[in-house]
C-alpha cells in the first residue's frame, strides 16, 4: 500500500480509479500488473488516473461550497429551512468575494509599505567594490 495514492476498484474488476499524489506512480504500476497477471485483456479494463493539481483543488472546493450554497439558497432538497438561513446564504458569495478583495488589497498594501529599503547594503557594496578593485589590481587583474 502506498500512502500517497488512493485507488478505488469497482466490483466488476474492469474499472480502477486512482489519485496520484507526489508524482508517485508505484501504486498504479502495481495495480496494472495485478490486472494483467489475473488474465484480463488490455481492452477490458480502464484505468483513470489524475494528479490533484491546485486547479483541481480549487474546482473541487468551489464545487462543494457552491453546492452547499445552492442547496440552502434554492432549497434544492426541499428541506424548508427557516427564512433566516436563506437570507444569510443568498448574498454570501458576493460578500466573501468582497471580503477577499479587501483583505488582498490591505495585505499587498501593507507589504509594499513595509518593504525594506536596504540603504546600508548598497553603501556597503559600493565600499567593497572599491576595495575589491584595488586588491585585484594589486593581484594583477587587468580590467
Amino acid at each position: 500500500m502506498h500512502d500517497s495514492n488512493t485507488i478505488i476498484k469497482f466490483a466488476d474488476d474492469t474499472m480502477v480509479v486512482g489519485l496520484i499524489t507526489d508524482d508517485d506512480e508505484t501504486a498504479y504500476m502495481e495495480e496494472e500488473e495485478g490486472l494483467l497477471t489475473s488474465g484480463l485483456l488490455a481492452l477490458k479494463f480502464h484505468i483513470i488516473l489524475f494528479t490533484m493539481t491546485k486547479l483541481l483543488e480549487w474546482v473541487f472546493g468551489i464545487s462543494v461550497i457552491g453546492a452547499a450554497w445552492a442547496l440552502v439558497t434554492f432549497d434544492l432538497l426541499g428541506l424548508r429551512l427557516p427564512e433566516a438561513y436563506r437570507e444569510v446564504a443568498w448574498p454570501m458569495p458576493v460578500y466573501l468575494l468582497v471580503v477577499f478583495g479587501c483583505y488582498s488589497l490591505a495585505t499587498v498594501g501593507y507589504r509594499v509599505a513595509t518593504f525594506n529599503d536596504c540603504e546600508e547594503a548598497s553603501k556597503e557594496l559600493q565600499a567593497q567594490i572599491k576595495e575589491a578593485k584595488e586588491d585585484l589590481r594589486k593581484k594583477g587583474l587587468k580590467m
Binding site: A121, I129, A132, K133
Partner: protein, 250 residues
C-alpha cells in the same frame, strides 16, 4: 570565532560548496563577485569552488574569468563555458556535471546577491538539515535597494497572487539566491520545464511536491540594473502565463 568553528566543522563534515555562476556579459562584475565569494568563504573556512558558466559573452567575460583562475587557482575557479546563450536550466545542469561539492549555491553574478549571506545559508541548512535553503527578500530583514513604488507594488502583488494560487510554503518564489543539496538540485532541474522567473518558481513548487524541506534566509537584493531594464508588460504577461501553467499542472 565563526571562522574557526566553520573550518573545524567542514573539516569534520567534509562538506564542499560549489557555487554556480552563469554569466552573460559580466566582464565588470565577475571579478567583484569572485573577490567577495573568496573573501566570505575564506573568512568562514568552508570548503568551496566557483564554477563559471559563460554563454559565449561577446564582451570578454571568459578572458576575465581566465585571469581570475590564474589569481585564485584552478581548484577554486572552474571554467565551464558554452558556445552561446542557452538558458538557465541547462546552465545548471552543465555546471552540476562538473561540481565536486555535495552542496550547490546558485546566485546571480551581477552583485544583486551578496556573498556575505553565504555563511548564513550554510548555518541555516545545517540547523534544519534542509534539502534547500532559499534567500527571501520578503521576510525578516530581507529587502531590496533601488526599487521605486511601482516595482515594489508589482513584486508584492505578483508574489501575493502566487501565494494564493500555489500555496508553496516559501515566501520568495522568484528569488534565485539558493543553496541546494546537489542531488536535490539535480532531481529538480531535470523535472522543470519553464523559463525565466517561472523556472525559479517551478523549482520550489516541485520541491514541495517531492516533499523536500525548505529553509529560508532573509537577504538584501541590491538592484543596480533596474534603471536600464524596466519590468515591462511583456514580462508580466509571460509571468502570469507561467503561473497559470503551474497552477493547472502541479
Amino acid at each position: 570565532m565563526a571562522s574557526r568553528k566553520g573550518s573545524q566543522q567542514s573539516r569534520v563534515n567534509g562538506d564542499k560548496y560549489s557555487v554556480l555562476l552563469p554569466t552573460y556579459n559580466e566582464r565588470e562584475n565577475l571579478p567583484l563577485i569572485v573577490w567577495l565569494l573568496v573573501k566570505y568563504f575564506g573568512e568562514s573556512g568552508y570548503n568551496y569552488e566557483i564554477i563559471v558558466i559563460d554563454d559565449g559573452s561577446p564582451d570578454g567575460t571568459l578572458e576575465v574569468a581566465e585571469q581570475l583562475q590564474k589569481i585564485y587557482g584552478e581548484d577554486k575557479i572552474l571554467l565551464r563555458p558554452r558556445a552561446k546563450k542557452l538558458g538557465l536550466g541547462t546552465a545548471y545542469i552543465h555546471g552540476i556535471k562538473h561540481a565536486t561539492g555535495n552542496y550547490v549555491f546558485i546566485m546571480d553574478a551581477d552583485l544583486s546577491h551578496h556573498p556575505k549571506f553565504i555563511p548564513e545559508f550554510i548555518e541555516k541548512q545545517r540547523e534544519g538539515g534542509y534539502d534547500l535553503v532559499s534567500g527571501t527578500r520578503y521576510r525578516g530583514d530581507g529587502g531590496v535597494y533601488g526599487w521605486d513604488l511601482r516595482r515594489k507594488l508589482i513584486s508584492r502583488g505578483a508574489n501575493y497572487v502566487t501565494q494564493v494560487l500555489l500555496r508553496p510554503g516559501a515566501s520568495d518564489l522568484t528569488g534565485s539566491f539558493r543553496l541546494y543539496k546537489k542531488e536535490v538540485l539535480e532531481s529538480l532541474v531535470e523535472r522543470c520545464v519553464s523559463k525565466g522567473y517561472v523556472f525559479q518558481m517551478e523549482m520550489i513548487v516541485r520541491a514541495r511536491q517531492l516533499n523536500y524541506t525548505i529553509g529560508e534566509v532573509p537577504i538584501s537584493f541590491v538592484d543596480r540594473v533596474y534603471g536600464e531594464s524596466k519590468l515591462g508588460g511583456n514580462e508580466i504577461v509571460s509571468f502570469l502565463k507561467g503561473l497559470l501553467t503551474l497552477f493547472a499542472t502541479t
